[in-house]
Chain length 244, copies 2
Amino acid sequence: MKVPGVSESDFLRTYDARAFDRPNFSVDTVVFTVADEQLQVLLVKRDQHPFRGYFSLVGGFVDLEVDQDLQAAALRRLTDKTGVVAPYLEQVQTVGNQQRDPRCWSVTTVYFSLLAKDRVKPVTGTGTSAVEWVNVSEIGSNRSLAFDHGQLVSMAVERLRNKVLYTALPAHLLPEQFSLTQLQRIYELILNRALEAKAFRRRILSAEILVECGSKQQARGRPTQMYRLADPRYTYVFSRPLDL
Amino acid sequence: MKVPGVSESDFLRTYDARAFDRPNFSVDTVVFTVADEQLQVLLVKRDQHPFRGYFSLVGGFVDLEVDQDLQAAALRRLTDKTGVVAPYLEQVQTVGNQQRDPRCWSVTTVYFSLLAKDRVKPVTGTGTSAVEWVNVSEIGSNRSLAFDHGQLVSMAVERLRNKVLYTALPAHLLPEQFSLTQLQRIYELILNRALEAKAFRRRILSAEILVECGSKQQARGRPTQMYRLADPRYTYVFSRPLDL
DNA sequence: GCAATAGTGTCTGTGAGACACTATTTG
DNA sequence: CAAATAGTGTCTCACAGACACTATTGC
């Protein structure tokens, strides 16, 4: 393995990136939304082996010509399937081992994204394959996913549940304008437990990350103050997490 | 791109994992320790192009025959260089883009590890290349590292700084037996600010993650109560983070 | 005694949780 | 008026920070 007097330029000219066995590498994104009082993820039906006919996460291999970096690769797949540029995309974890893909040693970097359902164009994916929102609660019981994607979803859900304890991330799951009650419902959905309204409002409002934008008449009852995120790109971190 | 009536077994038999251009993939670990009142990382001198003669993180490509999964790959490299099985290893982030390696589009998954310096055997690495502890504070100024490893170190330091606010991770940087004062000094080193002794002791002791193990005479002054981690594999999470 | 280090008593402040209460709408 | 939904007043509690204090050693 000695490289005696070779210059760096000579070395690079003669280097063959395909000379060594390398793992397969892909990028997958768990896209969350909320609808029908359910946390849902976007899945795509595979039309090729392996796992033909199974649903899988939105993702695929990196295109070395097109993708500038990992996040861009994830974003490209996501935009292909949803028609929108995801407003929130965060890397979760990278999983790689011999067993997860029957073809070979394979690695995937998992992202998660938050999307308001009303922002997604009627799911006119580019491919022929079906794209579908699936309730998180059904995955693993009614449905098993391709590869280890069921586990990847669990990891992303765990991360989301954890982040919700000290950030206002769930705002990205709502339409641009929303009420504090709506936001609280999303928190409750994700955490699967009730929160105290007073404490919730105090917490969110004192963070000063929302701006008021008019009030809206409800079907019945007192009208609601509506808000939107002051800066959607900014992730506020609360000084104390919610109690577990 | 249609695969008409091919069976899954036929498909797998004829699948060539090397048929598509894929990014290079490697695993790198930022190994932290503390010595001379400094946070240090373990670096290896490269004896091959590219970046021959520069220092880089402990890492390398996955061995598809030997490594069961990503963490095992990281651990193997680490054990090669330190002679110990790292007691704490955590995935930080995965970075991939066109620019970071002059050879090709390349991806690395970065881990960080915490090691008490006295546990590392006198750094008899298997390779011929030099292995060295370097102060984190010197990286980027006095020393620039191979590839983007300087940035990778920064990411790991940021993660460590953040985790220290709500865990007792720094205990892994100390010998098996340590005093609360020693532990506090490590926290202060990482956070780069003084902590209140009373609050610190109350916090750590009330977590009940330490067990007393005798007292030790100091050079001068009152003898110290020594402790060790009750369960080194368990990471306690404090209900509130330290103030920023 | 003094210097040096370990360790405590106790007050303050902040922000989460609890829960009874008020406010504003429709019918 | 009642029902429904939005929003508040205010108490308690846990725990981090501040800081003056005590404890135990060597010299």
